[in-house]
């Protein structure tokens, strides 16, 4: 057994972020600390951090939210960005991901931010180009920068700004996070379920069998499945709701009304079972489907804060990818 050649960490450039499971806790801590430091820098100083550096955004899938977040982060640090998307004509028809990556490298890109419909595509791009690659969402796999921004949001809300500069094994001890919805197709759910237990959290995944198979338990220790949303809410200090795509339900033996009745975070359900819990949603939301507008806009919601944390965390990830800031001397 185990005689197959599996890719080693050294195949990927330092500063890559392909899966959150590859990032040790000390590294998470360093990213959080650098995020706070960059956020507190004067604007002019921040704009010098990546001056003269070139970052490519390679988007095979449209995503206004993630793309804008990364793009603004890079620009605020002074980097030159170039966007290559399947909507523009810049992705040559039929050209392989490898060749597109090599072209971007030849044009001077020092780091590639990749969004791709195929799970694992960032690994391929990182192997083929040798450049640091930031996974901005790959297929049904992961969205690691989202997990980091969710972590920062949770730490800030539960323990204060100072606590959000470090990650320790017990930072989230005693905290239960319920993630509810279409877990099967959610890269946000996977990344969070892989990251949060490293800090001591329990992650309770919630949803019907069709959207949450038992194999999800394979994500690791600290992850469990609870089919009853009310029961999950009773235990949760944090509730993360996931977007339900109606077209996905169409192929399954699920009807929307039934789903909404069982799994919507309605204000009635929220008040009854988890009134003091923190509410998260990676967006974009379907108000009235997975979440009630009243809850989304209510005082327990941190949904817009997530967006702000996203910009900050992605700044630190870019600085890390390009070996700048506090990561300058780090040999990964």
């Amino acid at each position: 057994m185990g005689s197959a050649t599996t890719p080693k960490g050294s195949e990927y450039a330092p500063g890559s972020l392909l899966t959150i499971s590859d990032v040790p806790l000390e590294e998470v801590s360093a990213i959080l600390a650098e995020t706070t430091r960059i956020e507190q820098l004067p604007r002019s100083e921040r704009a010098q951090m990546l001056a003269g550096r070139t970052v490519a955004l390679l988007f095979y899938e449209s995503s206004t939210r993630t793309r804008t977040s990364f793009e603004l982060a890079a620009k605020s640090l002074g980097a030159t960005t170039t966007l290559v998307s399947d909507k523009s004509s810049s992705i040559e028809k039929g050209e392989s991901l490898k060749d597109t990556g090599l072209t971007l490298r030849a044009l001077g890109a020092e780091c590639i931010i990749l969004r791709h419909p195929c799970s694992g595509a960032p690994f391929l791009l990182a192997r083929m180009t040798g450049l640091p690659v930031l996974n901005a969402g790959d297929g049904m796999h992961e969205h690691p920068s989202q997990a980091l921004l969710d972590l920062r949001t949770i730490l800030t809300r539960l323990h204060g700004v100072a606590a959000a500069t470090t990650a320790r094994q017990d930072s989230l001890r005693g905290v239960t996070i319920a993630i509810t919805g279409d877990i099967l197709h959610s890269r946000v759910a996977r990344s969070n379920a892989l990251l949060l237990p490293k800090l001591g959290a329990r992650v309770v995944l919630c949803g019907p069998e069709e959207l949450l198979p038992e194999t999800a338990l394979g994500l690791g220790p600290g992850v469990e499945i609870e089919r009853n949303f009310d029961a999950a809410l009773e235990r949760a200090q944090v509730v993360m709701m996931l977007r339900i795509q109606k077209e996905r339900l169409a192929g399954l033996e699920l009807d929307l009304a039934d789903y909404v009745a069982r799994y919507q975070l309605s204000s009635q359900r929220f008040t009854k079972h988890a009134a003091s819990a923190l509410v998260l949603h990676p967006g974009p939301m379907n108000r009235g489907v997975e979440i009630d507008g009243e809850v989304a806009d209510g005082p327990q919601s941190a949904i817009t804060e997530q967006v702000a944390h996203g910009l900050a965390v992605r700044s630190a990830l870019l600085v890390r990818a390009l070996g700048a800031g506090r990561f300058e001397s780090v040999t990964v």
């Binding site: 005689s3 197959a4 195929c118 799970s119 083929m128 297929g139 049904m140 796999h141 992961e142 996977r190």
Partner: protein, 434 residues
């Protein structure tokens, strides 16, 4: 033709009940003499092989290879694929029909088997069971059989429709050849790229379930039973590359029932599990996919207890640029001819205590039976002089760059192997020596 003398080896020939020191004389492409040491030592031969410390066995037979010619010779050709076979100790290979175009006609079959293709070992073929392997209209079984077909298969795809598979089994039974089935209910595997389970979930890949394989095996076994009852025929189902415990159990039960079912297991399925996919390593992408440990163990058990009849490689070469793609887009398959013996000896012989005689059964005797190859799979006097000489004790490391195949798509690059092929002799000609 010049004589070849093989001296000082240990002859393992289960077909003739021999496992002892014997010297062999090969003459005119046939086995001319088998004698106890000393008797043949004064025979003058053009070639004398000293097989000291080695096993002398009937040449290996692979009932399942993809040679990519015609149509995709950038991946492999009949010449390069059979050179890889010779390097692996194989003296006969059976080419699958999923070439471009699909091998579904007498003209296509004859073209493939023509000496002009440059086959290094004995080449046989299973043409498509249905025209274009589309699963609708049967190919011309009797004409193809006359032209040399040793069985029929739509490999790469299943024969999905019950009535088409039933008709194929009936027609093949009348000709005395097997229908070889790629057991995959493709209605359950659309968009799937690996085994269903925790690893697929973590990687965010859609998974092929155990049911998708087992359902077709169970359906085919039911058809055998129905045909035997209704037609008084005895059809032969050969199940290709079994990968799940459930399918293996169905085959075990069918054999106990007395139905004519045979099956093959590929070395990767008794060696690796779906964990080998690692971070989307496309060299671990094949169909059927690598399964979980319990399935791997069930493949070993099936090979040990006789449920599995043969080891077949499913040698499936692909060019580097095809495997250097997103996992879900990369083609299925790995090369396998040069690693089959090394893995079998390491995992089954050393790891599980399988006797060398059983190894030879799985790689020579039984595959010859599956496709009824006359005068092969055993070394009786008068048989074809198809011989492999291998040393069963050398530990070595496989390097894909040294492969005779045109392609390098293997998860076993750098992997430990046990036992080395020293000579491969096909119809009396030395086609590989090391």
């Amino acid at each position: 033709m010049s004589d070849v003398l093989i001296l000082n080896g240990r002859l393992v020939d289960p077909a003739n009940g021999i496992d002892a020191e014997r010297d062999l004389l090969l003459r005119d492409g046939r086995v001319a003499a088998i004698e106890i040491p000393g008797v043949l030592k004064n025979v003058a031969a053009a070639e004398t092989i000293d097989a000291s410390g080695c096993i002398v066995a009937p040449g290996f037979i692979d009932v399942h290879v993809h040679l990519r010619e015609p149509g995709q010779t950038y991946k492999e050709s009949i010449a390069t694929g059979t050179a890889a076979a010779a390097a692996g100790g194989f003296t006969s290979v059976i080419a699958m029909p999923n070439t471009v175009p699909v091998n579904d006609s007498v003209a296509g079959l004859e073209w493939m088997l023509d000496a002009a293709r440059g086959s290094v070992v004995k080449l046989f073929a299973m043409p498509a069971a249905t025209m274009g392997s589309m699963g609708i209209e049967l190919s011309n079984f009797s004409a193809l059989r006359k032209a040399g077909a040793v069985g029929f298969t739509d490999d790469g795809k299943p024969v999905l429709e019950d009535d088409v598979m039933r008709a194929a089994l009936v027609r093949a039974a009348r000709l005395g050849v097997p229908v070889s089935q790629h057991a995959e209910d493709t209605r359950l595997t659309g968009g799937c790229s690996m085994n269903a389970g925790p690893v697929a979930f973590r990687l965010g890949l859609r998974g092929m379930t155990v049911e998708a394989e087992a359902r077709i095996v169970e359906r085919d076994i039911r058809l055998l039973r129905e045909i035997e009852k209704a037609e008084g025929l005895r059809p032969h189902l050969h199940v290709q590359h079994v990968s799940t415990a459930r399918a293996m159990e169905a085959i075990r039960a069918a054999k106990r029932e007395g139905l004519h079912v045979t099956c093959e297991v590929a070395p990767h399925h008794f060696t690796l599990t779906d964990e080998a996919v690692g971070n989307y390593d496309t060299h671990a992408k094949m169909n059927p996919p690598l399964r979980v440990e319990a399935d791997r163990v069930a493949m070993v058990a099936g090979l040990m207890d006789g449920t599995a009849d043969t080891i077949a490689t499913d040698h499936a070469p692909h060019a580097a640029h095809e495997k250097e793609q997103e996992f879900e887009r990369a083609p299925n398959g790995i090369t396998g001819l040069e690693t089959a013996l090394g893995l079998t000896l390491r995992v089954l012989h050393r790891g599980q205590g399988m006797t060398l005689s059983r190894v030879v059964e799985l790689m020579s005797v039984n595959p010859a039976h599956v496709v009824s190859l006359e005068g092969r799979g055993g070394l009786a006097v008068g048989n074809h002089a198809d011989v492999v000489v291998f040393d069963p004790n050398t530990d070595w490391t496989f390097q894909a760059t040294n492969s005779k195949s045109k392609s390098r798509n293997t998860p076993f690059n750098g992997a430990a192997m046990l036992g080395r092929v020293r000579f491969t002799i096909c119809e009396g000609r030395i086609v590989f020596s090391n």
